[in-house]
Amino acid sequence: MKKSIALLVMIALLATGFVGCKKEDQVVLNVYNWGDYIDDSIFDTFETETGIKINYETFATNEEMYTKLKKGGTQYDVAIPSDYMIEKMIKEEMLEKIDLSKIPNFSNIDDQYKNLAFDPKNEYSVPYFWGTVGIIYNTNLISEDIDSWDALWDEKYSGMFTMVDSQRDSIMVALKKLGYSMNTKEVAHLEEAKQLLIEQKPLVLAYVGDNVKDMLISEETAMAVVWSGEASTVIQDYDYFKYVLPKEGSNKWFDNIVIPKGAKNIEAAHQFIDFLCRGDIGFKNADYVGYSTCNNETLKLIDPALIDTTYAYPKAEWTSNFEIFLDPGDFVKEYDRIWTEIKAN
């Protein structure tokens, strides 16, 4: 009997202890973003300005983010997926509409990034960054001028380069090399791409995610398929790296800010989105992540040396044969199957 009383007392103490720990009514905004894709010092700025605390979590691929949101059990107020994933999430009614009247800084966004095909009226998303996919290489280790995806099938570079550990991006490389659209819905095209990637596998050093920058700098790898912002970060510190936009064409992508369905703090989410669209905050992020801003006010602060570089603000004609990913719909099953087969081989 005594024991059970002691137990009860203990439980009671623990319970009150937990209650005591809870801060009163501070709004906590749950943000879900790509790894290494924001300057986290802005969280403090946001908290001092608004009193809203940021709880920040990251994902490595669009698919991972989608799965987590789709299966429920999560409560993110703000997320930053890419173009085709936004299209898919709109179709599947996974996003809240954004009230642009609550985002006065939306006017900072350049018109060319508004109303893109995946969200024709910007009802669900606000542009964050854009960029390309290309090849970065260390000119100390590779003397040849590289301008084509073919380099990634060249025996001479066996074990010297990395691919991206993400199905659409890696399959895209093969499709473009073959001269097909990266949005193809022909199974035969995908099968050809699969064969090509399986052929390439023995030459690949590794399939990597966020750690590619470290691998390049430490010379673990001499060449890599990367997103332009990663190239930008590396090149700005180490000028012997070169980023090329492959002549066969590649992917031009947009990452936009969205509010997933089920968000608890929609008001605060709007505040945060507006905050991200502010010129100075946009600059902090652009400076940190190295991707290209969609924000005119931010662009004014950007180092002019970055304009007209392959990695930051390429001239329009350099990317004329680049494509934007579209949502493949149910055809994604084929991509899934093919990627599994490539990786399992």
């Binding site: 024991k3 059970s4 137990l7 691929t61 698919e63 991972e64 989608y66 799965t67 789709k70 299966k71 599947e92 074990g159 990395t162 550990d165 993400s166 199905q167 596998k201 690949v204 050093l205 590794a206 399939y207 990597v208 430490s218 010379e219 673990e220 149910d330 991509y335 899934d336 990627w339 599994t340 087969e341 990786k343 399992a344 081989n345």
Partner: protein, 278 residues
């Protein structure tokens, strides 16, 4: 009364967090879906796993897990003997030192190997002192094997060590009195008596080795696919929870089978079989 509450809370716990999840995985594995519409009961996921490409992955996983287990045994047995023969004061310290690295996060330890094995890592820096050209250690099967052996070695050493220290020393003395030399005593007395520890070491290393995906992902650079990676990919990258669940079920069956074989082996060896899991 309190006892009843305590035991029933365990029941509730295991029902909620063990039974229900397994049932859910079982359910998922026997269904499939188009988009978000469930298309009902089917064996398709299991049939799909019978394709040569996936069987190859399974075979590869079993093979590498077995290799890792064998190496752990070859390295771990002498280690356990050395530990068991130490003076009891030093011994406790030595065992603790042996376990201390395990207090550190296992991811961190695996990342550490990446910086050791890298092209410009410590190992290659050391080799370059002897003018040996940089070699590629990382992103290979060998690196994965090393990661497994390193991470799971204590699971082999500790059960063997426990059995060895509990062993009745008078049997060894008797054997020596009867004129057995060191080799004979080891072969006829020590090793047979330590088999229960070996058996439990084998299953404790084999199980995590066959299902790991973190070690393979990091040390093979996403190139080398084992069954654990296949499952992870179905859940995280390609969003086919049905197929992923079917593979998980098959893996569970495989592990159960190995365990029962191991247990039978252990039981056949003698009363000491109960020393199973230290």
């Amino acid at each position: 009364m309190l006892r009843k509450i305590a035991s029933s809370s365990y029941l509730v716990w295991s029902f909620l967090f063990i039974i229900i999840p397994i049932l859910m995985i079982g359910f998922l594995s026997f269904t499939s879906s188009e988009g978000s519409v469930n298309t009902g009961f089917s064996f398709d996921n299991y049939k799909r796993f019978m394709e040569p490409i996936y069987l190859k992955v399974l075979l590869r996983s079993v093979e590498i897990a077995f290799k890792a287990t064998l190496i752990c045994f070859l390295v771990g047995y002498p280690m356990a003997m050395i530990l068991a023969k130490m003076d009891s004061k030093i011994r406790n310290l030595a065992v603790m030192l042996f376990v201390v690295p395990m207090w550190m996060n296992f991811l961190l330890r695996t990342y550490a190997w990446m910086t050791i094995l890298g092209k410009n890592g410590i190992l290659n820096k050391f080799l370059s002192l002897f003018h040996i050209a940089p070699m590629t250690f990382l992103y290979s099967e060998g690196a994965v094997l090393l990661g497994m052996v390193y991470n799971f070695l204590p699971f082999m050493v500790l059960p063997i060590y426990t059995v060895l220290t509990k062993m009745d020393k008078s049997l060894i003395e008797a054997a020596e009195d009867l004129g057995g030399n060191k080799g004979t005593v080891f072969r006829k007395i020590i090793f047979p008596l330590s088999l229960p520890g070996v058996v439990s070491g084998f299953s404790m290393v084999f199980m995590p080795a066959v299902s790991t995906f973190v070690i393979t992902n990091l040390l093979s650079g996403g190139q080398y696919m084992l069954v654990g990676n296949l499952i992870e990919q179905q859940f995280l990258a390609v969003n086919d929870w049905h197929f992923g669940s079917a593979i998980s079920m098959l893996l569970m069956v495989l592990i159960l089978l190995t365990m029962s074989v191991m247990n039978r082996l252990g039981a056949g060896i003698g009363e000491e079989g109960s020393a199973g899991l230290w």
